[in-house]
Amino acid sequence: MAKRDYSFYPGCSSQKGASASNCTTSINAICDVLKIQLNEIPDWNCCSASIGYAGGGELPRLTLSARNLALSEQHNPGQDVVATCAACWLATRETTERLAHDDQLFTETKIALKEAGLTLQNKTPVRHFVEVLIEDVGYDALKAAVKKPLTGIKIASYVGCQTNRPFGIAGESFENPLYLDKLTEAMGATALKDYDKKVACCGGALAFSEPEKSQDLIKDILQAAYDVGADMIVTPCPVCQMNVEVYQGLINQRHGTNFNMPVVYYSTLMAVAYGKSASESGLDGQVIRAKQLDALAGR
């Protein structure tokens, strides 16, 4: 099979020693299996996520993503831009659409880009990595690569917000997207389709500045997973992953709960099913270990 090439926008949290470095690890592992070549956009910058707005106005924010798009055109011409982080994908795709529909903003953005010696055509599709898996590889091929089916593991698919709205994975519904269930089932696991917090919000960036209010949202997301008998939660979003995993101790202290629910990336799940080792699958990055996956990966 020939390799498929994409222009990759990894984002700040994916870097070495950052909060979603384990996402990157597992993405690399499944790319290796599926012959996907992610070519990092040279010298990419932060997208300012969804919280940068108070400091940067509209044009500065759009310009941030425009710089990444321009660098991609220059260094990875003809390749779709692909992101794994929900916020990175959203900001970049929003920018390309806003600039396509607003000539004045596009002109102004180009003037700013010129200061960095860059030009922009703005013709590159901006896609989420999940779309590459579903559309370009396809469920059948994803399933065919499984070496260790995740038989018997019960999974609550937590899609969250920004992978799902306002754009969403192509062809999926906003209120009940099914791709994550289909992906986990393709890996041989059991998808718990009555998990009702699938598209609920974890507080996003406000988990930092409104910790207790956000932790109340997270508590409901966890409780619903226990209610349907989940062994673990799986998510595509770095913010969701971190928020739902790392605050369980604090929530337990405040509410007298006993949460200890692993929260893993879909890519970690897939890497284990594809026969990768625990460290290649990013399992070392779990603050709450996913013991069933550890056991499988160690076999």
């Binding site: 700040c12 384990n22 990419w44 108070a54 940067g56 102004e108 200061e115």
Partner: protein
């Protein structure tokens, strides 16, 4: 740099809707709201919004400038985009909330509490230094946002989380020394400076013209 936005609004002759249309990101959409109320039930932190988006749109039309701009409501937006995919009129509600927040902050109306306005500013400052967010410095800046005493308390409370992230190599103490960053910092900063200049000039022009 002197901020042209601090000298608002005589030009709008008390017409707050026009002020919003001219200065707030996607503000020209506000008048399209048909007050159906769908967005009002969509915010995850809904109980903490003094005025849900629907009501904010009504208040803008009713000229309630002070109440809207000094409100904590927009700062409760988690950027979940529930409202945007549900609004029958397809208003870009999330962006309008962000835009109102930005505008309120620019003209010095943003509230001191909650800390989200200050946190969001720190996020922006953090990313514009090296071109990439330094999670460790951002986290520390957040802990100490209300001074040293509270900062130490917060840091203690967050200790277990920090340790968990360190152990799993999802946080690196070396980031304190500078850490990740882009190469073309000069071009990057010149680009942002230009974007900011263009934006502020546009707003200043709106005011002179009394749009």
């Amino acid at each position: 740099m002197s901020n042209p936005n601090q000298t608002i609004p005589g030009q709008y002759r008390g017409n707050f809707l026009r002020e919003v249309e001219a200065n707030v990101e996607e503000g020209e959409w506000v008048k399209m709201c048909m007050q159906c109320g769908v967005c009002a039930g969509s915010c995850p932190l809904g109980p903490y919004w003094d005025y849900p988006p629907q009501q904010i749109f009504m208040m803008i039309r009713a000229g309630k400038r002070e109440e809207v701009l000094s409100s904590t409501s927009m700062w409760m937006c988690t950027s979940c985009y529930n409202c945007m995919v549900r609004c029958p009129r397809e208003l870009p509600i999330t962006h309008i909330m962000h835009g109102l927040a930005t505008y309120a902050k620019r003209i010095g109306k943003a509230p001191q509490t909650p800390i989200t306005p200050r946190f969001a500013q720190k996020f922006w400052d953090n990313l514009t230094v090296t071109g990439r967010v330094n999670e460790l410095k951002l986290g520390l800046a957040l802990y100490f946002i209300n001074g040293i005493g509270e900062g130490i308390q917060t840091a203690m409370k967050m200790q277990d989380i920090g340790l968990g992230m360190l152990k799993t190599k999802r946080m690196s103490p070396f980031e304190i020394l500078g850490g990740h960053g882009i190469k073309d910092k000069a071009g990057f900063r010149a680009m942002l400076k230009k974007a900011e200049e263009i934006e502020l000039a546009k707003i200043a022009k709106n005011q002179v013209a009394g749009v």
